[in-house]
């Protein structure tokens, strides 16, 4: 029977001919654990009666979610984590400031294509950027995975998302995935694997944006087909069966905005123009890479952000941070008035680095806009691309970034002045 990518990976891993709906027990190529769950993971291992992880070379540990530690309680937890890493002799350890777990997992090559990876984080789907079956799980599942090197999985149905055409200038793959979320809804891919076609040759960062945000549709995994990293056997069979198919024509796609408090409440930017914002967050595993910062800098270079707006920029890893320093991108953003945070999750989840006050309105390049996600439950979060973020920082309102990208210097001044006068 023809197979989807998820069926191929799980068949190979479990050693049986697995199809959607089957329950399999699969060996894991790597377990990813981060700071915000480590106490529960350690408690789980203790309760399981396991003194050691099954294979220290297959475990990657990160301090990124509340890093550097914002409170003494968090600092204590980080210290315990560091001690545990030393005692377990886990070499793959990234301390505060190194970056977001998912970014490092992919960019440092810890995600073996075609294998199963278990992560303690709901965006572990990101590993599908290079053809791995990455599944986010809770602390106890992660503890079990660390103890046994195996996990149980129901082989998911797959949803096929095909991208056709090329996006116009000022439109990004963030807009594309938001368009997909708009189409499928927050639970449209529940228990399913979202399989991306027509995205394999995109830059790795774009593929992380796509695979990671399948979480926002409830997916178990998101896998990009035909990536350069994938082994020869990993391709979706012709005639594989899909629960749903969606095609997005990138050539006519408009910039997209997710309107609070739902990530699937997505509109074309024209419907959000003029919405004032207090704070802009550029970062996260979805959009904190060099290319994202460069896109923002292309609009902000040589200018100042609106006086009533704050801009927080948090590179997603030290490598992205250093690359953005080396090419002047961070200098341009800082000169424009941005606060540059150390690499990590930053304010994405409202624990550290500039949380939102009550009634504040944020434009974020991250992936979630739940009530209370970035601080006060009374704050509102709009989600958009780095271009949209830059324009919002510059003008204090949500606007279509395309005129700003095409404008001459004088036209740009006029555009900004018009927004500020309004």
């Amino acid at each position: 029977m023809p197979k989807t990518l998820a069926e191929k990976i799980l068949s190979r891993a479990s050693g049986r001919d697995a199809h959607a709906g089957d329950l399999v027990i699969a060996p894991i190529s790597r377990v990813m654990v981060h700071d915000s769950v480590i106490d529960a993971v350690m408690a789980g291992l203790r309760d399981l009666g396991k003194a050691h992880v099954w294979d220290t070379s297959r475990v990657a540990v990160f301090i990124d979610h509340a890093a550097p530690a914002p409170t003494p309680v968090v600092a204590d937890s980080h210290r315990t984590l560091r001690e545990w890493v030393r005692e377990q002799e886990i070499a793959t350890f990234y301390d505060a400031g190194e970056g977001v777990c998912h970014q490092i997992m992919v960019e440092e090559g810890y995600c073996e294509p075609g294998t199963v990876i278990v992560g303690s984080d709901s965006h572990s789907n990101s590993y599908g950027a290079v053809g791995a079956f990455g599944a986010g799980m809770g602390a106890t599942d992660v503890a079990v995975a660390l103890a046994l090197g195996r996990t149980w999985l129901r082989v998911p149905e797959s949803i096929k998302v095909t991208f056709a055409g090329k996006p116009r200038k000022g439109v990004t793959m963030k807009d594309a995935i938001m368009r997909v979320v708009r189409e499928i809804g927050t639970d449209g891919a529940r228990y399913a694997c979202v399989e991306f076609h027509g995205a394999g040759s995109l830059p790795q960062g774009d593929r992380i944006t796509l695979a990671g945000m399948t979480t926002e549709m409830g997916a178990k995994a998101g896998i990009v087909a035909d990536t350069p990293e994938a082994p020869g056997w990993l391709f979706p069979d012709r005639g594989a069966s899909y629960a749903n198919e969606v095609t997005i024509d990138l050539s006519v796609l408009e910039p997209q905005i997710a309107v609070p408090p739902r990530v699937d409440q997505v509109v074309d930017i024209s419907e959000a123009i003029g919405q004032p914002v207090d704070i802009v967050f550029l970062g996260s595993c979805t959009n904190g890479r060099l290319v994202d910062m460069r896109q923002a800098a292309s609009i902000l270079r040589g200018r100042r952000i609106a006086p009533e707006v704050r801009l927080e920029v948090v590179p997603s890893s030290r490598r992205q941070f250093e690359d953005a320093m080396a090419d002047g991108t961070l200098l341009a953003l800082s000169a424009a008035g941005a606060v540059i945070g150390s690499s990590g999750c930053g304010p994405c989840l409202g624990r550290t680095g500039g949380v939102l006050a009550g009634s504040e309105i944020c434009l974020s390049t991250a992936n979630r806009n739940y009530r209370g996600r970035m601080g006060s439950p009374d704050a509102s979060i709009y989600i958009g691309s780095p271009y949209v973020a830059a324009v919002a920082a510059l003008t204090g309102v949500i606007d279509d970034p395309r005129p700003y990208l095409e404008a001459t210097e004088d036209e740009l001044d006029a555009l900004v002045a018009a927004e500020i006068d309004d």
Partner: protein
């Protein structure tokens, strides 16, 4: 009998325990006291062991934070019945030993504050307005729940239940 706490669709884990009250923000012994503090103030004080949560679609969506489930477990929640569940939340509940049952009609039948009985053996949720049928759980999940969670199961058996 137990009290039913009825919620709507897409109840996310940030609403169960907001990130700012994560165990490692407020301590392991306190985080459960903030359960539903924004979405349903008073819940943590009033909920009684054995009470049942009833919800609509996509119950438990959002972050994978297991402490949301751990908080419900600590407060003694006896089971959750919803139209369907977000996958990580579903696994977390099975792992920690909270029965999670899918039912098409429970959320329409049960009203908040109703006295209800969750009868797993009969596969129904009895409410004052009628019985809601529960979809049977996979044998694999039933075995783990029967042991009181995956840790207890593994301690006893050393490995996962057999898959069919």
């Amino acid at each position: 009998m137990a009290r039913a706490w009825v919620f709507g669709d897409d109840l996310d884990t940030d609403q169960m325990v907001p990130g700012r009250y994560a165990p490692f923000m407020v301590g392991q012994d306190k985080f459960h006291l903030y359960t539903f503090c924004d979405a349903r103030p008073g819940f943590a004080k009033e909920v009684q062991p054995g009470d049942v949560l009833v919800g609509g679609e996509n119950f438990g969506c959002g972050s994978s934070r297991e402490y949301a489930v751990a908080a419900l477990k600590k407060l003694g929640v006896g089971g959750i019945v919803a139209k369907n569940f977000a996958r990580i939340f579903f696994r977390n509940c099975i792992n920690l030993g909270i029965p999670v049952l899918e039912s098409e009609d429970a959320v329409a039948l049960a009203r908040d504050g109703d006295q209800v009985t969750l009868d797993l053996a009969a596969g129904v949720l009895r409410t004052p307005h009628g019985e809601a049928r529960l979809r049977p759980l996979a044998a694999f999940a039933q075995e783990i729940l029967a042991a009181g969670g995956v840790v207890a199961y593994l301690r006893e058996h050393g490995d996962f239940p057999r898959v069919p």
